[in-house]
Point group: C2
Chain length 110, copies 2
């Protein structure tokens, strides 16, 4: 946003990336992948989501370049593509926590 022109085409591309992170289920999956690569089945078990559901979410995350995959026999191993997910989620988590702290403060002084 600082040095990059936000052309109309760019806004939709960026919005699509944000959309990939705008779902609790996908954030849950990414959180699991924090500890290393996992198969789809392991993610299904870990998250409690349905298999088809997890698979579709992984396609979204893959299309948005947030995860990479590696096929090995019957299994497909998914892993985080890079460290940007950490940065993005940390920024958002920080905002949420600060927001909650502010609300608590506002309530206590009212």
């Amino acid at each position: 946003m600082s040095r990059i022109k936000m052309t109309p085409a760019m806004t939709t591309l960026v919005a699509d990336r944000f959309k990939a992170l705008a779902e609790p289920a996908r954030l849950q999956i990414l959180t699991c992948l924090r500890d290393g690569e996992m198969t789809v089945g392991e993610l299904v078990e870990e998250t409690g989501l349905g298999q088809a559901n997890v698979s579709k979410h992984l396609q979204s995350l893959f299309a948005a370049d947030f995860v990479q995959r590696r096929k090995e026999g019957l299994y497909t191993y998914y892993a985080l593509a890079d460290a940007d997910v950490f940065r993005l989620c940390d920024l958002m988590c920080g905002r949420v926590e600060r927001g909650m702290a502010n609300r608590r403060k506002a309530l206590s002084t009212s």
Copy 2:
């Protein structure tokens, strides 16, 4: 994501914040606000979006704490709440540009 526990409640809160950025129209509005505070009417003119539409998007951005507002007579001035929007969008823009560069490279060597 590194030091913060991603509880189920947290994932939905974070997802809601990302959702606020997951729309081209809202990114367009935020890009306008980069240069300083603006009234709703100015944003309508600058973005070419409908007035009701801009107003609703501003409510979303305000609910997600990305913008602050200041009423002055008939006008409502909106401004970016903090610099996080820059960081978040820059990260995403960087990813998009790197992705496009990689795709170009992949095509040229194929």
